[in-house]
Point group: D2
Chain length 365, copies 4
């Protein structure tokens, strides 16, 4: 019942291919469908271990599949293979510097949906309309050769356009689990049982989650222009699954249990065989404007005292900086400016002035 | 009369400094001032050789200086020192991937100038108002530590804010000389005597030239909102001075002669001692929308048959691709899709599918 | 009593300096001297935290200093500042690829010590003779310009040549504490109280420890050629202090206590104020030929099940590899080939076929 | 008659393959065979264009093939695909820093050939003996997983071991054509008609040419130990074909004509269809000890005044350095220390103190 589809998405200068592997599960008891991709950033590999558990579970339990599920581990071959030193340098295209999760398109940004919105339509018709618009953009790329950045990301968007639920699996640098949630999904997102939520505006910021929900946001506006109300039936999220460069299959089992639970809630599967690994959580959430970044006040060697997931009070020590510039002031402690919850910190302890150190939630609930 | 100002703009993890050197020339016969920086991208070094000639000429001829001139060679220490293999990897921050010439801010993007525009003001007052707005942004950075990307670029913008004419010296990859010209400067730009002009909208695209003229564009709109007409007295340009990684002092002398000629036209100097090296040119120009990029249709080894500055007819060979994938089709020739003028091509002959090959002007005049 | 010496060791293309900071403590009650450097590899920063504790302790207790102690944290500016992505790419020169700890010279490799050995001499005379030989090599570099690789490393060797005890502080990738010990130092090395010893031959492998002891090994041979026996009074070690990219000041305190204890044993200090933090250890040791590297048998995502410091029996699981190439064989477990003790594993979980995974001790005692 | 063989030589972390393409031509009129590989360093691509011409010529003229010819363009997939910025970073393994042309093995370094040399043997038997020794090393790699550096290079050595003539096609940075010639090949090498020869000792320096001839050098020594004289029938060379990152098919035609001429001289082909493109040359040669490198005396922007292939007299200007450190000394000229012939210079104009600038031949004839 599982189908493996291999797509050649690029070609190296020596003609070696860059290939994607898509795993499709088709159910015929529901029209709901999900797309789950992982590892668009090369070092963010934990999502692959989560997909591994989902894949194995679905293969072993074919009868539970009601709708369609497409799994895409290692979604960005070029990012996955770009290694510098012992680490994976796959956050941006090493030739252009472009961040792989900022290369998606707002498909209807310059195309009015007012005409479309005036007609009667169902969800599948809008998805087909969207897919056609993406196909036109893919076709337009051909004229002068297909820009590799645009090409990969549009392809991923096209796959996502067929789904009703899109989950993009990332990780932070050294991080706890957290979720990017569009404002309009504040309630529905709770079904994912993530411990920390960052509430982002219903706007385009070039990432996959936004690129996926923006067509529906535009549609809602067009309908409202015609005086209709509309409750967006589509959901997309960025899931941050811990730290870079690490896979941990035990942890992945718990994370997979949450995603399977979500698929169950959305009636794409009829049962969650991983239920025993499910941990229900009430999220702590803050607005993106309350998501703060601490930057290094000077160059030096940074010791990170606060750990991801930890709550820190104003005035408590966050980090210290060791510098040999001034022998009278070798080690300096730096404190939290406000009460906060640590979401992640940078991977390196060797830091220039002005590099990111911590990202924290303030005014969270 | 020349003043050297050294600014520490950053600090490495081992406390070694990142420093800028600014060279100031002050004239008291004019209120016109110019700011010329080079090498914001690490590999684009030819502008430094141009600044060298201007600096030497001004030092040797102090009496010609009427207004203020600030020269900033090697404007981006971090970019200049980032080397990978034998080349300079300084187009983007090697930690974040951010392109150094896409990190400037549109200072008045979210701040209405309507109030300011209602008052009587002169140019110097607006420049002071702008500088104060930049200072506020710099101050705001301090709260959680100064993000290194924002910090450098805001500093450069602050220096630029004091000038009436801002020249940002870049190069292409393997390229001829060309100039980015804002629409409102189509006429005035001819004083720079560049052979090729790309006409860009009066809009913000995150580069230095745009960041410098946008406050004035916002001001003009605010004045028009009040029913006044306004001719923007400010000019800024990006000058592309040939190819990456090369300095050529003979060529730089001709390029410096053009800039000195421009300063003479703007009454910042009273005479151009490099006049004998000046070559007057009538530019070929096209709109940015007619500036086309050819991408590699497949992976392979690319031979660039057309050279920067060359005019190519539709159907003539632009490049060929050598690939050993299919022994029956080793070498493929690729032709121009339309008549065009070659502006630049990529530095490498080892190319993935979808990488940039050529940038060309179409429909130019 | 502490003297800070700043040395400019290099210069960037934009004239920004590369600087070393040396901290000297001079005692006049002993002719024994130690040189301790850290961070020759850019990402191996924990040694700096150890030096911090030693420095602070010596400053606070000037009376305990009997001999000379030179501390050099962040000994390689160029390595320290080379960052790619969020990590430090400082294991090798990013231009040439040369590993910074394989660039030292075997000073007397091509110079017979037979003549020198025939004369009466004391230790200080040999050290002076060695330093002079290094100076000649430094001088010879000047003829065609000083190769940056040779220049830095010869300078460090020159500083080391003045000492009787040289400690080069490194770290592994993700690692426990371990020590490289020359065969002739098998007994004496126990004073460092390191838990794991790798016994290396008394030969030159281009690293600092070897470069430092080789002159003495050559001297011993020359003396033996003259029929004399000789017990090398010089010691040098490479200390591996845990994992890359991390500083941990608490752990560093324990590591510093061991080094201070060693300095006490060598009568360079008269007392160890960090004694309370000292943990005495009986080392497990193996020969370098029993130090084995496991390489990835295929490309994939690697989960490291065994941890540094852990003893693993033959047949127990070391690591597993997740690959989506064959859906029937997604996750493969790989077992220890022999009983072993885990010393370190690679930092990344995203692995090509043939990359290093683990380094382990076999046949250790 | 041509056979294409595809070998999977590696696998990325996402299971994408690294593949070689070998082109075999078999003639049955001679037992002489040649192996020609190109592009072991990722940016050194011109050899591929040379192989293209040879391949096309042999395909079009199958009757001229007398012996065996194996062509391997793009011989190092991992190097070819490692790009940083717009350039190819393929001189060294980006994870380990190891230079790809310093990873070959001296197969018989620790294995006496005295026994073998005592028996009667012909050339083919020694080649088979050598190949078996390589196979044993490849087999030994399997025990703990095949180290990717050793694995690729041993494979290339194994292919080379079957040939009588091995040509390894490289390029310099910005360079003229030159040839590395083992001392014992000083005369025979003239058949390659290269303009510049660097005479290297009959010793192992870890490159392909040396790794290929060393077994024969060891054999000669073993035979001499038995009192026999031996004229090594084997030849291997490193050919440097101009500059990095460029393919030029016209130039490649002339270079291919020389190699075809060499194959004709060695009776591997019966005719050279490219004879019309052949340029006969009398080489200028020097010893490796007279091959000098100029290093940057300070950091700055370097203008290269002397061009590859050019003869420069002592005291003539080689390069100048532009630095803004000292306004009184902006541009410094640097002169040749001795009469020399320029072989290559570095690709970048942005230079740290101590980086390579020029490589030149002195005392050449």
């Amino acid at each position: 019942m599982m189908k493996l589809e291999t797509i050649t998405i690029g070609q190296q200068g020596n003609a070696n291919p860059l290939e994607l592997r898509l795993f499709h599960f088709e159910g015929h008891k529901s029209d709901q469908s999900a797309f789950i991709q992982a590892n668009v950033h090369g070092a963010e590999i934990q999502g692959n271990a989560v997909i591994y558990h989902i894949l194995v579970t679905l293969k072993a339990n074919p009868d539970i599949v009601r709708g369609n599920i497409t799994l895409l581990p290692q979604a960005n071959p070029l990012a996955a293979i770009t290694k510098m030193g012992t680490w994976t340098l796959g956050r941006f295209n090493s030739v252009t510097g472009d961040n792989w999760n900022r290369l998606y398109k707002d498909i209807f940004a310059n195309q009015s949906l007012d005409q479309f919105a005036k007609k009667d339509f169902d969800k599948e018709q809008f998805k087909a309309y969207l897919e056609k618009a993406i196909d036109q953009k893919l076709f337009a790329l051909k004229e002068y050769g297909e820009n590799e950045n645009a090409f990969l990301n549009l392809h991923l968007q096209k796959i996502a356009a067929r789904a009703d639920y899109v989950l993009d699996l990332h990780t932070g640098p050294i991080a706890c689990d957290y979720l990017y949630v569009a404002e309009y999904l504040t309630e529905k997102s709770k079904d994912l049982n993530f411990p920390h939520h960052l509430i982002i505006p219903n706007e385009f910021g070039m990432a996959m989650d936004e690129a996926s929900f923006m067509p529906w946001v535009h549609l809602k506006k067009a309908l409202e222009n015609s005086g209709k109300t509309y409750d967006i039936p589509f959901e997309s999220y960025t899931l941050e699954l811990g730290s870079e460069e690490v896979i941990n299959t035990k942890l992945a089992l718990k994370q997979a249990a949450k995603i399977m639970h979500y698929l169950l809630k959305r009636e794409i599967i009829s049962e969650n065989p991983l239920e025993e690994h499910l941990i229900l959580e009430t999220p702590k959430a803050c607005l993106l404007s309350d998501y703060k970044t601490y930057y290094a006040p000077k160059g030096g060697l940074v010791e990170y005292h606060a750990k991801p997931g930890q709550e820190v009070k104003k005035g408590e020590i966050l980090f210290s900086i060791l510098s040999f510039e001034d022998p009278e002031r070798l080690l300096e402690e730096h404190k939290a400016k406000k009460d906060c919850l640590i979401i992640n910190h940078t991977t390196s302890g060797n830091i220039r002035k002005g590099m990111e150190l911590y990202q924290v939630m303030e005014n969270y609930q």
